[in-house]
Symmetry: C2
Subunit: 359 residues, 2 copies
């Protein structure tokens, strides 16, 4: 049978510890060349949404983790707009599918016999793998005795960033800032309960990051949210996307670690089409005078080839520069194994997704 899983089911099944453990193991495979991952690709054409200029983007990324027995493709079929919100250019995916929903899927396969094992939405898997990746950045780069966290952002990604950080360090206090006061208050209340850690909403980004051991940038901004002047000895600054940290701050760090160093997707666009964030030199094109080639990558640090931190005084930074298809093979694989064990999900005949003719 091929399993159809929902975000609600996956959310019940997956713990951040599961994903941290599985990813850590497979990054060793990736470093050794036993696991493989295909750079994300974006195919873009002009579109319209409510009469406004938009882009239709079809995004895919694949990975194969033979040690886990899984391969996967993750795909997104998005209507994207670029409104200016509170003075900042934002990239906003419209939930344009029926019932105002987004379209992101992970298809999971067996590397043993090729069979389609599961189909699931990407939402929960996506935030778990981002959280766990930055969590591994914290594990290998932050001070062992780090106890305090400042987080910028209160959205969908921010929760798993905190969960992963608390799983790898003994965190005692968290400060949170995001531009909307209601959002940051709600998030703080919700996460205090989830994590069992003292957490407070504060009134500015500067206040949130001041005096803490670990800074987590977890925004959907395509402009900088953390600046050089805020860096102090011993801090670890973590970011879920390239533009969040000011370039001058990167240059001042003793060590900047990258996820895997791919940095950009392969992009194929209709003639003449240029997404607004690229047109304005934002998005993938920010912070381009910093030398990323010299940065250690997370799999190197996990494999022990490079030390993420040498002394307690060093300033370190981790940038989750771009996601990998491999993360979806691993994370969806863990969800699948737990779903089978728990008897969760819709079962469909595997024959619907296989064939008796040579493809």
């Amino acid at each position: 049978m091929t399993l159809i899983l929902s975000n609600e089911e996956i959310s019940q099944l997956l713990s951040i510890e599961d994903v941290l453990d599985a990813l850590e193991e497979v990054y060793k495979d990736l470093h050794a060349g036993r696991a493989v991952t295909r750079r994300r690709s974006d195919t873009l054409v002009p579109a319209h949404h409510d009469g406004e200029e938009a882009i239709y983007g079809f995004k895919t990324m694949d990975g194969v983790a033979p040690s886990q027995g899984f391969s996967a493709v993750r795909l997104n079929s998005d209507i994207v707009t670029w409104p200016v919100i509170e003075g900042s250019l934002r990239r906003v995916k419209i939930p344009a599918a029926p019932n105002n929903r987004w379209v992101g899927l992970v298809l999971l396969f067996s590397t043993k016999n090729g069979e389609p094992l599961a189909i699931m939405p990407d939402g929960v898997v996506q935030r778990m793998r981002v959280g766990a990746t930055n969590g591994l950045g914290v594990k290998y780069m932050a001070r062992e005795n780090a106890k305090t966290v400042g987080i910028l952002g209160s959205g969908w990604q921010a929760g798993t960033q905190l969960m992963a950080t608390c799983a790898v360090r003994d965190i005692e206090m968290i400060k949170c800032f995001s531009p909307n006061p209601t959002n940051r208050l709600n998030f703080t209340q919700e996460m205090t309960e989830t994590l069992g850690v003292e957490m407070m909403a504060v009134n500015s980004a500067k206040e949130a990051v001041s005096g803490v051991d670990i800074v987590l940038c977890a925004t959907n901004s395509i402009e900088k949210v953390y600046v050089e002047g805020w860096l102090r000895p011993g801090v670890h600054v973590s970011s879920i996307k390239m533009p969040e940290i000011e370039e001058a701050a990167l240059k001042k760090c003793d060590r900047v670690g990258l996820h895997f160093g791919q940095q950009r997707p392969d992009t194929v666009t209709a003639t003449g089409l240029e997404p607004p964030d690229r047109r304005s030199g934002k998005g993938w094109d920010v912070n381009r005078t910093f030398n990323y080639d010299a940065c250690p990558k997370l799999p190197q640090m996990i494999a022990g080839e490079v030390k993420g931190r040498k002394t307690d005084d060093e300033i370190t930074c981790f940038i989750n520069d771009m996601g990998l298809g491999l993360q979806f093979a691993v994370t969806a694989g863990v969800a699948y194994k737990k779903a089978i064990k728990a008897g969760v999900g819709h079962e469909l005949p595997t024959d619907w997704f296989t064939e008796n003719v040579h493809p």
Copy 2:
């Protein structure tokens, strides 16, 4: 609702004329940069099958055809072996999934609102788009008055090659050779009925191609099956994959047309892994002293930028050098529209494949 279609259903719904028409239209979009397609990628790791050395390959390709309102990813999850059969190195996909089945899928989406429209096996769609592509090669490169065909091959691809050729030219006689006498006889009988054209099985490749106006190579050989000495003025030679035609024959042609000129997939392999056909210099690496860059591409010929044939005496050749994700968006799109009209397929709730959380 999201439709699940089977090969049997698609086979009933799709005619080669449908696919020829839709592809011809979208190749104009591709030429003009309105439609986009992402180069196929292969991610490969070592595997085993029945104790023998094998490779697990995860292959994906995407395309977006906004004029049709469709995007698609086509994927294959394959256990591949390289046995030597009748003295030739072959690339053989093992039907290793439950019930001895292969795994190839097309997922179809709407470019209007992103929604998942259909999931279907790739088998019938795959052979229809290959057939129609070479058929368009015949339409734009063979003599207008071509009446006779010699086909090499009697397998899964050979049938649609003949259907497409007969749809674009008034064919009166077909000769067929393939190494196994039973196969070529069965195929000849079956296709005579389907096409209503006189067809005969012959005892050698040379005999099949001798004196005909159009040669169709439709084999799964990764070595040459058509050689220079067989070329005669006015002939059009069509091939479904790079290695089928001897390089010297390519060089003797007045014009060699390519599908889109991509020629190779992006390949990501586990460290040290080299598929046997590459190791032996076959597969993608054959015929590499021929200058493919100078060849016209099918979309250029369809758009009228380059003439496929100038005189009846010219020797022309068309190589379907590599498939495109775009072909799957178009062909699966036609199948989907006809399935909706006919009320065919399993309907699943679209909510199963969409989400209410931001991906």
